[in-house]
Symmetry: C2
Subunit: 346 residues, 2 copies
């Protein structure tokens, strides 16, 4: 690119006004075809690559990108096929509207000062994926006046979301486990503070994300007599599920069932069992949430949710003016596979 060649340069070279050059790019019907040809040709000759993105965005107020905000570290988002599926659905719709996807890192540094990516991000709207309700980044976006759609139901009635009924979803699984006779359950969950150290047992109050809390509540509801403990091995990833399950399995006080609040956690738990010669569904029941592709081949009992559709729906609410519904509940389904079985009688 020849540096410093702007719309003005081109205008001068062709002998027209900058407005006309602008129109050549944005409103072809506002000038004669011949003139447009001439401008485009000259632009190419000069090495002008079209209107500058930032300037255009500033003036027109539209950026052509929607932001995506993830739980935790961005890099972790890709370790969960569930998140990836969501992204795929969202990308599909974004593509349709010729809109880019801006993945924002959720660094905790200097929220106040504005050196934050969420502050700086040039976006027209944002998709909020499994971010806890009170997170400061949400306030930042709200402050910026950026329309948001969350994958969790919020408290505010004017909030847009595409979500599942977490309590009901977990209830389905709870009922299934209760019927199988389980009364001693360990729930594996994502917890930032447990990352990098030993697995920890948490109380319900310490559970961060609303949806996790709701799922636990759903389990409780259908398993009123059961003891339900909460354990985290760190971030939402296979390794964390593995670590947490190892810790649980090697303790004196084994449960009869382990429920991963996501499939990756549950799959990690299955791995830990495998290493100990334990057969899922026989020696111990394991179940998860999401129904990611790997769950099927692993024979994992799980609560399916249509994740790709969820991504698509978020995209539509965000980008499609024809979509008027702003609060959408997606269906869930209990998928029973071999990893769940009757609780052993003691």
């Amino acid at each position: 690119m020849s540096p410093g060649v702007t719309i003005k340069t081109v205008a001068q070279a062709v002998g027209v006004s900058p407005s006309t050059v602008s129109n050549a790019y944005n409103k072809p019907d506002q000038l004669s075809a011949a003139m447009r040809e001439r401008i485009l040709a000259k632009a190419k000759e000069l090495g002008y690559a079209g209107p500058d993105a930032s300037a255009r965005a500033l003036r027109s107020g539209k950026v052509g990108a929607v932001g995506v905000l993830f739980t935790d570290k961005l890099a972790y988002a890709f370790s969960d096929p569930y998140a990836v599926g969501f992204l795929a659905g969202l990308a599909e719709v974004a593509e349709e509207f010729t809109t880019s996807l801006l993945l924002m890192p959720l660094s905790s540094t200097d929220i106040q000062g504005g050196t934050n990516a969420v502050q700086q991000a040039a976006i027209d709207a944002a998709a909020i994926f499994c971010v806890a309700g009170g997170h400061p980044a949400l306030d930042t976006l709200k402050n910026r006046g950026i329309p948001m759609v969350s994958t969790d139901r919020g408290d505010h009635p004017d909030l847009s979301w595409v979500a599942i009924d977490e309590v009901e979803a977990a209830g389905k699984l709870g009922k299934h486990l209760a019927r199988l006779g389980h009364r001693d359950v360990v729930v594996l969950l994502d917890n930032a503070e447990a990352a990098g150290s030993q697995p920890v047992e948490l109380t319900l109050d310490e559970v961060g994300y609303t949806d996790c809390e709701l799922r636990i509540r759903g389990l409780h509801k259908e398993m009123p007599d059961a003891r339900i403990r909460l354990v985290s091995g760190g971030h939402n990833a296979f390794g964390s599920g593995l670590a947490a399950a190892e810790w649980v399995l090697d303790s004196q006080d084994r449960p009869t069932a382990i429920v991963g609040l996501s499939d990756v956690l549950a799959l990690g738990a299955m791995e830990a069992m495998k290493a100990r010669g334990l057969v899922p569904g026989k020696d111990l029941t394991v179940a998860g949430f999401d129904d990611v592709p790997a769950a099927e081949s692993a024979g994992l009992t799980t609560v399916r949710q249509p994740i790709r559709d969820k991504g698509r729906a978020v995209g539509r609410v965000l980008l499609d003016p024809a979509t008027t519904e702003r609060q959408i509940t997606m269906p869930t389904e209990l998928i029973v596979r071999s990893s769940s079985g009757p609780a052993p009688r003691n």
Copy 2:
């Protein structure tokens, strides 16, 4: 957000110049702490959410985002764990530099006119993931003067890339297959034109991406006596591999080995074999490229490349000024598993 509240509004309300407000956000050491406090407080009171992203980008020339350009449709990118792994590595580094990732859809519409996402995207630099050398989007970016790093070696010596030696990598697999006695191979590959229709057999000239071509050449090199046919079932996805393999397996002229140019394609082929009661490594050999996580559990012989590291390296070249190397070759390794075995004697 109160609409129309800008840096100027805040400046007036506090009784200072706009520059000072700007400094309060960007250069805290340029003003007294007391003044900074006052400004930030007033800003909050007025509902000012910090400097506007576009305006800042325009003036300062830095956007704080790097673009990612994928082969084909954006939505397909997420169906390949290989691409996802790359993204994860890239995201890691981006996070470190508080930089966002802008995923650009590669829509073919109106390249010339500039309504293109690649044209419009506000980015400082771009990562090019498996995009064919001659693609118009690359010219667009080049024209815009945006620094690029590709995952394929380019022809131009001044191009930056982080890649593997494709010919050598494929050669490792070729040697392995030759030793096992295979002389009749079908290569499964990604081909946009085959999408949505019947699988097709291609000639080497019709193969799009340079890296695919190089891999095929690498196979030829180590298997000079073998017949190597090229078949595509569409995009780079499990389903395409499945479809293509079905077509191959149901034909009169079965090969003794099927090589997927990516693991997802090879895994699709394994699925097709399974459905026909064929045992990989016994009845027919299957091999892939990449070594995605699923390859291990499936027992797929494949050529491993450190994809996450590749993503990280691209990120470093793109963002880290300390990284001076601009052309990096990553190592590859042949991973032999149960899916490859001796060719049956006829």
